[in-house]
Symmetry: C2
Subunit: 452 residues, 2 copies
Amino acid sequence: MSEPTRVLLDESRIPRNWYNIIPDLPSPPPPPLHPATLQPVGPDDLAPLFPMELIGQEVSEERFVPIPESVLDVYRLWRPTPLIRARRLEKSLGTPARIYYKYEGGSPSGSHKPNTAVPQAYYNAAQGVRRLTTETGAGQWGSALAFACAQYGLACEVWMVRASYDQKPYRRSLMKVYGATVHASPSAVTRSGSRILADDPACTGSLGIAISEAVEVAGQHGDTRYALGSVLNHVLMHQTVIGEEALEQLAAFGETPDLIIGCTGGGSNFAGLVFPFLREKLAGRMEPVLRAVEPTACPSFTRGTYAYDFGDTAGFTPLLKMHTLGHEFVPDPIHAGGLRYHGMSPLLSHIYELGMIEAVARNQTECFEAGLRFARTEGVLPAPEPTHALAETIAEALRCADTGEEKVILTAVCGHGHFDLPAYERHLSGQLDDFALPQQRIDEALARLPAV
Amino acid sequence: MSEPTRVLLDESRIPRNWYNIIPDLPSPPPPPLHPATLQPVGPDDLAPLFPMELIGQEVSEERFVPIPESVLDVYRLWRPTPLIRARRLEKSLGTPARIYYKYEGGSPSGSHKPNTAVPQAYYNAAQGVRRLTTETGAGQWGSALAFACAQYGLACEVWMVRASYDQKPYRRSLMKVYGATVHASPSAVTRSGSRILADDPACTGSLGIAISEAVEVAGQHGDTRYALGSVLNHVLMHQTVIGEEALEQLAAFGETPDLIIGCTGGGSNFAGLVFPFLREKLAGRMEPVLRAVEPTACPSFTRGTYAYDFGDTAGFTPLLKMHTLGHEFVPDPIHAGGLRYHGMSPLLSHIYELGMIEAVARNQTECFEAGLRFARTEGVLPAPEPTHALAETIAEALRCADTGEEKVILTAVCGHGHFDLPAYERHLSGQLDDFALPQQRIDEALARLPAV
């Protein structure tokens, strides 16, 4: 037991601040625009949807934002999370690379999402809000917010995409266990849902529709606000607790990273992992390559364009300057539900344009294969989303096996796959598809970008 | 952050020995008997089923058995596990009691079962065994053994009770993810299964039938052995890593336990938690009350008898002196599948007869209610089995709220409930039953105990 396998930190080492990367960038990201006026949106535009503290964090110029004691107190239920050296995976690959993974699957809802759900619930409760609404696809975000609302006595109302509502009953039940109300979306309880159901009673829904329903209800009630699980600056900032801990833990291993790999959907897992390391890189203290991995079925970084677009399908949100496949782009039904988003965090898109991060895309079946290899060596079954980062990590480690390079690779397993076993079962029986994405589908969606 | 919520231990603090309580008892437990001769079974009788190291551990008189380096190396993937003070649960109960729980749900398969699955796979592999067979009900044990076999390159073949095979596809898939072969039991691949299917092609199976199938296959092949997930002495001993760590962690909190509460099915979780504390109690260093909690639907301690009985329904195993409801007793279908066993570990039964532990029984619905309360306060959703310990813990904490007693209570959440959400869903919709158990059913089963 000479060299450690797992580095844990005492709860006194939970970060006391979130890290806001914007002041450290050479230029700030372009602002969101009001779709009618094409002027930057202000706090008043957002106040019906978000509490003032979060609106302030969205545009904060402070490098470090203190984490409230009450939030730290909830974080202590599962944070700090472990950083683990994947010795068994390394051995199975015969690689001289040293692979480390930050494991976020030990949280109450089984993913990294509570890192932001808890402060979002806290700031809403502190402002006197009584209820939060949100949308969820596969359910990772919905179950995290339901847990957080239970901690602060808030009601929680979730619109879950009908297809997932029917196919993923476990996540739906978990939200109800935490006391949330779960609607299949489209639902008859909103005007936008009712309108869609009138046209198509069998509609299986989409994230765009579910956002519309959650936003509609939040906007109608003074005691209700809306919560988003990724994309926005404050959400990414809350997730930096992952990277801050990993920075300290990797140092405890005596390592400096050469390459950091994370999966990206809306961007919160990737940003949470890499922003603290990017800070160190900008300060000249280390030089890691930072690489985002997205699914080939939804390649906003690698095949999208950088333009102003709507955050939702229906076009209700402000216009966001981001890497996008077009707000009308509907990704094929890959099982990594958390990566099926047409756009990308505006902040990460800006950083990508600045040349500070790389991006690659991976196919669904090679990702599930990586997940299987990881489970059989490291024990933990990863959710489909982080298998994208693992597929890239394994490919890189195999390159090192060829070259002999002792590369230090850091990645994150942002959630466990115990809710995703039907997808693994389908992979094992050879039923998964890689969904070749014709350029024409992207071109068609991009042709319908809003004129800015 | 003055008083800690969670005490973690560095991996150097993983126990280096398992604790064997037998030498510390005033008398050893009565031996297993061969059903034909009624003589104590010897190593030769067991050699077709178990490797010699485990047979030796079953009858060991050493107080401490060193944990092999290779096993420690796998334990390091998730051990030491955290000990957490349930501050939020305490607050919701308004109790002056201080409640601590050892959390075993962070293991690769989500329960405490890998603590023994890993050494069992290791000793078999070290002896040149190529394949392990086992039975599983809900699947906690089967998935733990599948994980352990993947670590040591062993084939793993699991007979899963047909009813669970059909109703709990997630656990079945998890076993396959780890590379195991899973048969619905009764199966056509064994003689005992085929015989039953010939009589009743729609038979939904039982643990007793599944044991028969796994034992039959192990007995037929020189390179194959059988593995059991609870009941036996060596299994309980492997689980003492739970209690050894908790002993150190509770001391780090500055606490001495007044009451330790654990759920019991076959007894491995309870024994693993309490044996190290019982050692300390026997040495006069502390005086905790040790209380087992079983389901009212399967009350082997509180309504069973202490007698020699078969470990399986069909009567293939040696005769074990234990608390039993009779090997033909079929428990009602409560969702705590891990507690649906007609008997009780012979070692725990002996210790109960010595007056060293208490036992109580709890109804299914109050247990699920306790699970809900725990999830909404502490975040972690417990599996149905440990909700029995939590229901008793909550009742005790409420008594303390009345009396003002600052009792220190230790319990264990031996697994997470992410695989058990359909059961919680049924509870939430009021569909769960408490299954009153008429004395006549027990009397009838006890009337068919083997004559010894």
